[in-house]
Symmetry: C2
DNA sequence: AGTCTTGTTGAGAATTATTCTTAAGAAGTA
DNA sequence: TACTTCTTAAGAATAATTCTCAACAAGACT
């Protein structure tokens, strides 16, 4: 369990640095997102955490996720409205968003990583980071009923 | 009002092609988003439309926006969960998302436009389109209280 | 180990966002 | 004008998220 220990250490340090307490709830929530490998929504995190901490409330999961996000340990993933999802993979990477089921898949790309933020952007504000977002139909959805038909592709 | 007429023509043709009716509601909703120049959320569109069509219901705005999105006349903008926003600017462009107020700003970039979708991505599904998404603090938010402090920048 | 202080949590109410149901209303057609 | 069918308005119903507040428990200090 190397990753788990790393995550715990990172959590501990960050909480201490910010004068926050290391609670069971924060531990479980963070580990759940970190171990998930995907981009779970709040209720999915709630489910996962309940396996180890059966009485945790949904509200605590919300509060904790937003707190972890303030601390930079997780980041909210932009989805198409319905619900927030969180990502614990904080290194630079990119996203493929399925327009049908809403799932978000990570992918790495050396070529995309080299892209520099264009000057045009800095006139809008202070840029923290960037990533490429692809939209389309994921393999799962492709199989259960066409995915190539429409698409309104642009460039 | 060249743009307005263009938009109306596009709407008319698309609706006809798809056997849908050209109603006052659809006209006003589409023109509102197209003229806004920004990425309004549903209730903002509702407000705008009500100025010309005082009795339009919120539900109709929802229905119409999703229908226009099916038709490829507008597109839902991925935000951080809270609410859907729509974009009528369908040419290739990129987004700057303010992490504080949630506003989404467009920007064009010839250099970013040249980026090709990497092969890695096609193993995840059928890609329709792509855009670069920057996160940070917009000028407005920068002014009313620091925006440079934190940031959790990655690459 | 026991006590205190104060940040955290759980429960449930309260909000907000979005969708559903259904009967009345308006486009396009004959 | 009358008819058919697609659309809409209203309000109820869901789903998502936040708020309130008393009980709880981490960490600090005996
Ligand atoms: Mn990710
Ligand atoms: Mn845009
Ligand atoms: Zn999918
Ligand atoms: Zn802002």
């Amino acid at each position: 369990m190397k990753n788990r220990d790393k995550a715990l250490a990172r959590l501990k340090e960050t909480l201490e640095t910010n004068g926050l307490r290391m609670t069971q709830q924060r531990i479980e929530v963070y580990l759940a997102v970190a171990a998930s490998g995907c981009h779970p929504c709040v209720s999915e995190v709630h489910e996962m955490v309940r396996e180890n901490l059966p009485t945790v409330s949904l509200d605590t999961v919300y509060r904790t996720l937003w707190k972890l996000s303030e601390l930079g340990l997780v980041a909210p993933v932009s989805s198409s409205g319905d619900r927030v999802r969180f990502d614990a993979y904080m290194r630079r990477h990119h996203h493929f968003v399925c327009a049908r089921c809403g799932a978000v898949y990570d992918f790495d790309s050396p070529s995309l990583d080299e892209i520099r933020i264009p000057e045009e952007a800095w006139s809008l504000g202070c840029v923290w980071n960037s990533h490429m977002e692809l939209r389309g139909i994921c393999l799962g959805c492709c199989n259960e009923g066409g995915g190539t038909e429409e698409g309104h592709a642009e460039g």
